[in-house]
């Protein structure tokens, strides 16, 4: 999207100044714009120290690291830690859990805002629409700790869900202690938290659809359902694809903080994911190199996923992030 920006700017400014700019050397640029560059110093230091040094810090995945010692480890051990987790059944267990939870989340949290936006779009009373929007955005503003607290209250044996089961004559279920319920709880809380806020971009995209297209569709005899299918959905497709790519990019990092807050040893069999596993192994047990190897593996998969999703979507639907 942003790649068209410099082109537009260049034509607006005329091609001659553009060529002159391109020929300017760094020395000239610094002399002319040093004040501007000086503003970038602190932010660049931030990116260097807190974003790029940790990226390089991943070398401890290949090196023996002593806590409190050299940030980048003491000596090379090659792929030792990778082989270690590769042959660790617990790793493959959490790997599978991550895929399952990630896929389930994507399956439910991605379409939810689309459907909600389409429904909101059909509302004629703007007052009612505004109220629904305001209320459905609300969970987005809550701390994940608060959301976890809410989950715990709702699913406790004395909470409303078990009360309802009690009315139906069912014995109370201790949901958060049962591996069989973890995924349902996690995914539904994700939907609860993200569906409303997710409509914003879709609603914005919906307003940009040319009303003449609907006119045309009506003349061609399309009912409202067909109009939705043939005009509305194609109209918001670029937004959908963009958000889908972004979702796929964060796929491997499934709600780390939330899982950390609501899982427990009893639900590890379904709730434990790569990020929580490496947190326990690394931060809690101090196997930094081993955890870093897993983390690096996870980030690489994430990067590969987002790059390939972007590539596929550029080929297939012509929408891409870059």
């Amino acid at each position: 999207m942003s790649s068209t920006q410099p082109l537009g700017a260049a034509t607006a400014a005329g091609s001659r100044p553009a060529r002159r700019l391109r020929r300017r050397t760094w020395r000239q640029a610094l002399r002319r714009d040093w004040r501007l560059y000086s503003l970038a110093v602190a932010p660049l230091a931030f990116f260097a120290v807190f974003r790029y040094v940790p990226m390089l810090g991943n070398v401890i995945a290949f090196r023996w690291y002593q806590p409190g010692g050299n940030l980048f480890g003491e000596y090379w051990v090659g792929f030792y830690y990778f082989q270690e987790f590769w042959s660790d059944p617990s790793f493959w267990h959490v790997f599978t859990n991550t895929l399952v939870l990630g896929l389930l989340s994507l399956l439910f949290t991605f379409p939810a805002p689309v459907i909600l936006a389409l429904l909101l779009n059909e509302v004629r009373s703007s007052r009612f629409k505004r109220i629904v929007q305001s209320i459905s955005y609300l969970p987005h503003f809550l701390s994940v700790v608060v959301v976890a607290g809410i989950i715990i209250q709702l699913t406790s044996t004395t909470g409303p869900i078990d009360q309802m089961l009690g009315h139906l004559g069912h014995a109370p279920i201790d949901f958060l202690q049962q591996p069989g319920w973890f995924r349902q709880i996690y995914v539904s809380s994700e939907v609860w938290q993200t569906a409303g806020w997710g409509t914003i971009l879709y609603l914005a995209a919906l307003t940009t659809i040319d009303s003449q297209l609907y006119e045309q569709a009506r003349i061609d005899g399309a009912n409202r359902w067909k109009q939705t299918w043939h005009v509305t959905l194609p109209g918001i497709r670029p937004t959908m694809v963009t958000l889908l790519i972004l979702n796929i990019g964060t796929f491997m990092a499934v709600g780390f903080e939330k899982i950390l807050l609501i899982y427990n040893p009893l639900t590890y069999s379904t709730g434990d994911v790569i990020s929580t596993y490496l947190y326990r192994v690394g931060v809690q047990s101090g196997s930094f190199s081993y955890a870093a190897a897993i983390g690096l593996f996870e980030s690489l998969i994430g990067l590969i996923l987002v790059v390939s999703a972007n590539f596929i979507s550029r080929r297939v639907v012509g929408t891409s992030l870059w």
Binding site: M1, S2, W26, A29, D33, R35, L36, Y37, L39, A40, P43, F47, Y52, V53, P54, Y65, L71, L119, V123, R124, F128, I135, S136, Y137, F141, L142, S143, V144, V145, V146, G149, I150, I152, Q153, L154, S156, T158, L176, Q177, W192, G196, L201, A204, G221, N223, R224, W225, K226, T242, L261, N264, L266, G282, V283, F288, A291, A292, G295, S299, L321
Partner: protein, 309 residues
Amino acid sequence: MVAVSETGVAPVGAPVVRRRIQTSRGYRVFQVVNALILTAVMVITLYPFINLLAQSFSAQGAIAAGRVNLIPKGFNLTTYKTVMADPTFWENYRNTVVYTVVATLIAMVLTTCYAYVLSKKNVKGRGFLIGIAVFTMFFNGGLIPNYVLVNDLGLRNSIWAIVLPNAISVFNLLVMKAFFESLPGELEEAAMVDGLNTYGILWRIVLPLSKAVLATMVLFYAVTFWNSWFSAFLYMDNNSMFPVTVYLRNLIAGATGGTDQSASGDTALQVAANIQAVTIVLTVIPILSIYPFIQRYFVSGVMLGAVKG
């Protein structure tokens, strides 16, 4: 939706008038169904809050008996008094305020400066400067290297462990850059002719014109820092340094962390239930009370960010 597809089968050759009537009747049905669905969405969204409020005002016994749903049973304010009498709670609450203010301030300065540089189309190396920031959206060092770094820098047990590693949000940066780019360049040129340098232009011309986006960014950062807990959880060892989110986390951890859910563990859970509810309510009150006023700023910020993606 079902209602629509039912009426959708109007014969192609049918008179226009008739089809319009049919459609509108089906459409009315759809409107009713739609309103019901959206009302259900609102109920589902709000229900947990109402349940939480009800529990916070209820007696322990009523909660333990599973009788509290939408209306407080055994109404009392004792739990509120208990929680509010805990000095650690207020200490942590104050920490949250301090962390949020300091972190937001630093984040705003850094983000504004960098966004302003990036918004200058003809600055040499612009693509590189943007690339450095955007790349971190898709690839980051990960938990362990960050953890090792913060500890090695000696930031542990200080506010900087929370503030510095999260000082720039690339999303916010792009939102601000997009806004600065949309400002008319003539103003700045005129200011330059009048003898203002880059700092003066940013301070006297650009920032006063950007109050709306600055307010939005302040809110974005403030809400993020107010809600954050993990950095503090990771890097702070001392009760007195925790933000209130970690206070709450430690409360609820008692309810989930049980390796053994024995009878005693179960009662502990129930005793904590109303305390938890009160603490949650007290934690979200600031957000909920300003929410109606800040919501539209957030929406506009997201839209601005989406334009430039």
